[in-house]
């Protein structure tokens, strides 16, 4: 049997489109700007790379400690440290312009206008294949999750970004909400080309010796295999509520994890924390998906998308 077709179109209604050679991408905040792991990972084989969350001005982030391991998971409170949009466009995007793998820029604003400005800056930058709008970061005091917590502001951010760019726009949702389908429908109606979910779940850890919170910022975002069932169910729920492509994320570490998300309705997946455990995880997953499809006699990945719905 010839190799199964793995490519996916994540922005079918966008003029530019967002065609991935395969459905496995590296999640924002865990893969830097794409270059960091290049000595051990053939990054050009990835479906896409989502770079670190980027704000208008550079940010220093939260105090140490910023990371802590929990059972099967990780709490992080990086606090959106990043180089800022100017440095990203000046220093990083030109590198990406020569890459085969599409790079998507994750953006975060403190206000709705910020999101619009960020989108405008990226619109003409060569090397940028799409925008992922982060309305779901639990680690910043202003912006981020605040906008993702209610359908109205989530839609406003989406519309503000869409108004300023023709690039494909993915909106990344937070699981820290009562009804995620409500938010998903709102951003779809506001023009999102695709929806990614989930970002991290809020959590904390306490150092029993010092009797104080472990993280410098007290609260952090939980990621890793521990959150997979939560993420999977949210993808399933959202897939039944919207028509735009969905990108599943949260605790994916193996090909069978990824296939579960695809069967729950995701057209593609993002791998984050599992990259820390093994930088080759995304490519191992890709090979695993291919093996599965060959074994099951599946010619095109689209046959599997939403198979469990």
């Amino acid at each position: 049997m010839k190799s199964p077709a793995l490519s996916v179109q994540l922005a079918p209604h966008n003029k530019k489109g967002l065609l991935l050679s395969n459905p496995v991408m590296a999640a924002s905040g865990t893969f830097g700007y794409g270059t960091e792991y290049a000595e051990v990972v053939d990054i050009q084989r990835l479906g896409a790379i989502i770079c670190k969350g980027t704000t208008l001005k550079p940010r220093p982030g939260n105090p140490q400690p910023r990371l802590w391991e929990t059972a099967g998971g990780v709490l992080n409170s990086i606090g959106m440290e990043n180089i800022g949009i100017d440095a990203l466009i000046r220093e990083k995007a030109p590198l990406w312009a020569g890459w085969k793998v599409p790079v998507i820029v994750n953006i975060l604003g403190e206000s709705i206008e910020d999101y619009g400005k960020l989108a405008k800056r990226l619109d003409k930058a060569s090397g940028v294949s799409g925008i992922e709008v982060n309305i779901s970061c639990p680690n910043v005091s202003a912006g981020g999750m605040e906008f993702g917590a209610n359908p109205k502001s989530a839609a406003e951010v989406t519309a503000a970004v869409k108004a300023k760019t023709t690039l494909p726009v993915i909106v990344k949702l937070s699981p820290n909400v009562t009804d995620i389908t409500e938010i998903a429908c709102a951003v779809e109606a506001a023009g999102a080309d695709a929806i990614s979910l989930i970002n991290t779940l809020r959590g904390m850890a306490i150092d029993t010796k010092s009797r104080k919170p472990v993280l410098g910022n007290v609260c952090g975002g939980l990621s890793g295999p521990a959150i997979k069932p939560v993420a999977l169910y949210m993808v399933y729920q959202v897939a039944r509520a919207v028509k735009v492509p969905i990108i599943g994320c949260g605790g994916i570490a193996t090909a069978s994890d990824a296939l579960e998300f695809i069967m729950a309705g995701a057209s593609a997946v993002q791998v984050g924390t599992a990259i820390f455990t093994n930088p080759c995880t995304p490519l191992d997953i890709l090979e695993g998906i291919e093996r599965f499809m060959k074994k099951e006699g599946i010619r095109n990945l689209t046959e599997l998308i939403g198979a469990a719905l």
Binding site: G29, G32, E36, P60, F276, C280
Partner: protein, 264 residues
């Protein structure tokens, strides 16, 4: 940097709760510099998502040694691995110690398991014909690095807090005796030791001093920003810009030690 599934040659408890692990990893050994580290995958599957950073203790032609204290579940798991098994290592990572071309006398100051990266440095320096003075500080004699394991040519000066071996007191107490002859100083130990040195900082003032810092790490390659700290030279990533830093660049009252939750 390489990802290596390295066969374990030996992994033995050489001091109470402290292990010496020798692994065959020529790919890493070839590139390794003293002060660099590897990220070791611990546990089965993904039950411990974070790799553990461990300094490269000694470098041989076809492998590296690690020297580690069992403090939590990762190091406990590692300590149970036996020769013949494999351990997944990622490295060498970070920026190691830098010996200046003009230096001929080096002072190495080890607090506890902080001797780990300093032995690689001592060996490298001796091989290059430099003079090395190694000072080791520990709580008591039972925890002092076994002499039989030291590389040839190294006779450490020992201090113990209870006086059970060598000079009684803290390693910081005896530094003034050796500072004058040293062209460069290299320190590795627990944070309180660094903070003590920074308080008596005047004694070190004119000597270029390098120190190895620890923060919890996610990626080890500068991709996740977990290890970012503020320094006098701006923000730095411990995993990539470090773990070795100029002592004077660190804002010692702002550094936080990793927590020790779940270790009781």
């Amino acid at each position: 940097m390489k990802l290596v599934n390295a066969p374990i040659i030996s992994n033995t408890e050489v001091l109470p709760n402290i292990y010496l692990l020798q692994a065959r990893a020529p790919e890493i050994a070839r590139l390794a510099q003293p002060g660099q580290y590897v990220m070791v995958r611990c546990g089965e599957g993904y039950d411990m998502p974070l790799r553990r950073p461990l300094a490269i203790h000694r470098i041989s032609k076809d492998g590296i040694f690690l020297f580690y204290t069992v403090v939590g579940r990762g190091t406990a798991w590692l300590s149970q691995r036996e020769s013949g098994e494999r351990v997944d290592m990622f490295g060498p990572l970070g920026k190691g110690f830098e010996i200046y071309p003009s230096s001929s006398n080096l002072l190495l100051v080890a607090g506890g398991v902080g001797i780990a990266p300093l032995l690689a440095l001592a060996e490298r320096a001796i091989d290059s014909g430099l003079k090395v003075r190694l000072v080791i500080g520990e709580k008591n004699a039972a925890k002092i690095y076994p002499e039989r394991l030291l590389p040839p040519g190294i006779k450490p000066v020992i201090t113990t807090e209870d006086g059970s071996l060598g000079q009684k007191g803290m390693v910081t107490d005896i530094l003034p005796q050796f500072i004058a002859q040293a062209d460069q100083v290299f320190v590795c130990g627990p944070l309180p030791m660094y903070q003590a040195i920074s308080k008596t900082g005047k004694k070190l003032k004119n000597k270029p001093t390098q120190v190895l810092l620890e923060t919890v790490m996610g990626c080890g390659v500068g991709a996740c920003l977990s290890c970012s700290i503020e320094t006098r030279q701006g923000r730095k990533l411990v995993c990539k810009d470090g773990p070795v830093f100029e002592f004077g660049d660190i804002l010692w009252d702002k550094i936080a030690a990793p927590a020790c939750s779940g270790r009781c």
